[in-house]
C-alpha cells in the first residue's frame, strides 16, 4: 500500500494504491491513471525555455507535448540548452521532434512575432 497526492489537477486528491494496483481516494479516472503510472513508471511534462533570436524577448517558453519519464528530465533540459529558435514562432511549433526517443515533441508555448527592424 502506498499513499500519493494526485498532481493531475489542483484538487490534489489523497490516493492510495495497493500492490495489485487498485486505486482508492481518486475523484476521477485521471487520478487512477496517475496513481498507476506513478507507481510503475513516473512521468512528467517538462516546461522550460530555449534561446530565442529575432524576437522582442531572448527566451522562448516550451514544453514536452506529452509526459516524459521522470528520470529523463535532466537529459531533456540538456537537449534544450543546445537549441536556438528564430522568431517568428507560433504556439505549437515543434522545437525538437521526438526528444530523446520518448515520442514526445518539444513545442513552443508562446507566440513571438518577428521584431521589425528599423
Amino acid at each position: 500500500m502506498r499513499e500519493l497526492v494526485c498532481i493531475v489537477c489542483p484538487r490534489g486528491c489523497h490516493l492510495k494504491i495497493d500492490d495489485s494496483l487498485n486505486v482508492t481516494g481518486n475523484a476521477c479516472p485521471r487520478g487512477e491513471a496517475y496513481a498507476r503510472a506513478e507507481t510503475t513508471h513516473p512521468t512528467r511534462v517538462v516546461t522550460s525555455t530555449v534561446r530565442l533570436v529575432g524576437g522582442q524577448i531572448p527566451r522562448l517558453p516550451v514544453k514536452t507535448g506529452a509526459p516524459v519519464p521522470k528520470e529523463l528530465i535532466g537529459s531533456v533540459m540538456a537537449e534544450l540548452s543546445r537549441v536556438t529558435v528564430t522568431a517568428p514562432v507560433k504556439v505549437g511549433d515543434v522545437v525538437i521532434s521526438d526528444v530523446l526517443g520518448t515520442g514526445a515533441d518539444v513545442v513552443a508555448t508562446r507566440e513571438i512575432p518577428e521584431t521589425v527592424k528599423i
Binding site: 493531475v8 489542483p10 524577448i57 521522470k70 504556439v91 508555448t109
Partner: protein, 417 residues
C-alpha cells in the same frame, strides 16, 4: 468616449473585455502597461492552467494565447506600453504612453484588472544585512523565464506560496542548488500538488514552522540563518541552522495592486486588501468594476476568468440597461473563514445564483460550509478537506435568497467522521 475601459491586459482584463464584447458593447479599450498582453501568465511557463475552464492542462503563455486569440476576433481596441495614472469618480481615465502621450479618455464603465504585487522583504521585516541577492520569487521568475538571467546558484526560499514552490523547481532545472524552502506557518501556503511535484520530486526539504532570522553578506548574500518558531511565530533561540547561499527568494504573499482603486475613493476591504465588491463585481463607485487579483488574490487563473466574465457581463449591463437596483445586504465571514467575495449583495440583481468565493483560516478535515442568515442555515456544502492556500467557492441559488434580511454569514465547522 468608450463604453468600457479595461485597465490591465492580463487574464482578468482579457476575459472581462471578451465577455463585455459578447454582451453587446462595441467601444471597448484595454490599457496595458507591458509591451504585450497576457500579464503574469507570460512568465508562468509551467503547466497546470486551464484544467477547470478548458478541461485541459495548459502552460501560462498558452492560457493567455487562448484569450488573445478570442480577443483578436472582436473589435476591442488595445493600447499596450501605456500606464494608467488616475481614474476619477466620473470615470475619466488618465493614461500615458508612447502612442498616446498624456491622454484622458472618458468611459461609461471601467473594469479594474490590475492584478496584484508581491510582498517584499520590507513588508515582513526580514532581519540582517542588506546585500544583493534577495529577490521576490516573481521577480526571479521573470528574470529566468522571460529575460534569460539566472539570479543565483545556491538558493534558499522563504515562504511556501505557489510561486516560491514553482521557482524551487525552476531554479533546480536550470542548474541551481535549492537548499531549503522555509515556511513560518505549520502548513504550506501553496497547492499540495506543487509541494509534490516541485519539492518532493527534487528532494528539496520543506521546513514548516521555521523562518529566516538573519541574512549575512557584504556585497552579495553569503549565508542565511533559519530558526524554528514557536506557536506565536517567535523564533526559538538555539534552533538556528546555517545555509551557505548566494540567493534568498521571497514567496511571502501577494496583495492587490491598489493605487488606482484607493485614489479613486473606492471602498476597500481590509480582509481581502482589495476593493470591496457587489455580487456583479461592481465596486462602491457605480459603473466601476474590479475582478481577478485586484479584487482578491486567487490561486487558480480559471477562477479569475470566471469572475472576470461576471464583471464584463455586468459592465455591459450597466452601460446598456442602467445601474443595478435593489436593497443590499452584507456577506460576512463567520468562524473558520477569513474573507468572502463579494462583500455585499443585492439579491434582486443576482442572476440565477450567487457565487461566493472565500478562504478558510486554517486546515480543515471533513467539514460543512454553512451560509446563514439571522442564525438560520440558507444552504450548506460538504467538503473532505480545506486549506487556506486553496480558495473555495460555493453557489447559492437565487430562490434561497428571497426574504433574506440583515445579511449572510459564511462559516465552516468540522464534522465527525
Amino acid at each position: 468616449m468608450y463604453e468600457l475601459i479595461v485597465i490591465g491586459g492580463g487574464p482578468a482584463g482579457l476575459a472581462a473585455a471578451c465577455e463585455a464584447w459578447d454582451a453587446g458593447l462595441r467601444r471597448i479599450l484595454i490599457v496595458e502597461r507591458d509591451k504585450t498582453l497576457g500579464g503574469i501568465l507570460n512568465q508562468c511557463i509551467h503547466n497546470g492552467f486551464g484544467l477547470t475552464y478548458f478541461k485541459e492542462e495548459l502552460t501560462g503563455p498558452e492560457y493567455a494565447h487562448r484569450f488573445t486569440q478570442l480577443l483578436a476576433k472582436t473589435g476591442v481596441e488595445v493600447r499596450t506600453d501605456t500606464m494608467v495614472l488616475r481614474i476619477t469618480p466620473d470615470r475619466r481615465v488618465h493614461m500615458t504612453g508612447p502612442s498616446c502621450g498624456y491622454r484622458i479618455e472618458e468611459a461609461s464603465s471601467v473594469i479594474l484588472a490590475m492584478g496584484c504585487r508581491e510582498r517584499t522583504r520590507g513588508a515582513i521585516g526580514v532581519p540582517g544585512a542588506r546585500p544583493a541577492g534577495v529577490f521576490t520569487a516573481g521577480a526571479a521568475q521573470r528574470y529566468v523565464n522571460v529575460e534569460g538571467w539566472m539570479p543565483g546558484k545556491r538558493v534558499v526560499i522563504l515562504g511556501s506560496g505557489d510561486i516560491g514552490l514553482i521557482m524551487a523547481r525552476r531554479m533546480t532545472l536550470e542548474g541551481a542548488k535549492v537548499l531549503a524552502c522555509v515556511e513560518v506557518m505549520p502548513y504550506s501556503g501553496g497547492l499540495t500538488r506543487n509541494i509534490v511535484q516541485c519539492l518532493e520530486d527534487y528532494k528539496i526539504p520543506l521546513y514548516l514552522s521555521h523562518t529566516v532570522t538573519d541574512v549575512l553578506g557584504r556585497d552579495r548574500v553569503e549565508k542565511v540563518i533559519v530558526s524554528r518558531v514557536d506557536e506565536n511565530r517567535r523564533p526559538i533561540p538555539g534552533t538556528e541552522m546555517e545555509f551557505a547561499c548566494d540567493t534568498l527568494l521571497l514567496s511571502v504573499g501577494l496583495i492587490p495592486e491598489n493605487e488606482l482603486t484607493a485614489a479613486a475613493g473606492i471602498r476597500m476591504d481590509p480582509r481581502t486588501k482589495g476593493a470591496a465588491v457587489y455580487e456583479n463585481m461592481e465596486t462602491s463607485l457605480p459603473g466601476v468594476f474590479a475582478c481577478g487579483n485586484v479584487a482578491h488574490v486567487h490561486d487558480l487563473v480559471d477562477y479569475v476568468t470566471r469572475e472576470s466574465q461576471r464583471a464584463g457581463a455586468a459592465a455591459a449591463r450597466f452601460v446598456l440597461n442602467g445601474p443595478a437596483a435593489g436593497e443590499e445586504i452584507p456577506v460576512e465571514n463567520g468562524p473558520g473563514v477569513s474573507y468572502t467575495v463579494p462583500q455585499r449583495v443585492r439579491p434582486e440583481n443576482v442572476d440565477k445564483s450567487l457565487g461566493i468565493f472565500f478562504r478558510v483560516n486554517r486546515i480543515f478535515g471533513r467539514s460543512r460550509i454553512c451560509v446563514e442568515a439571522e442564525g438560520r442555515e440558507v444552504c450548506g456544502f460538504d467538503r473532505e478537506r480545506m486549506a487556506p492556500g486553496e480558495m473555495e467557492s460555493v453557489t447559492v441559488p437565487k430562490k434561497l435568497l428571497a426574504g433574506v434580511k440583515g445579511g449572510l454569514t459564511v462559516s465552516v465547522r468540522e464534522v465527525e467522521k
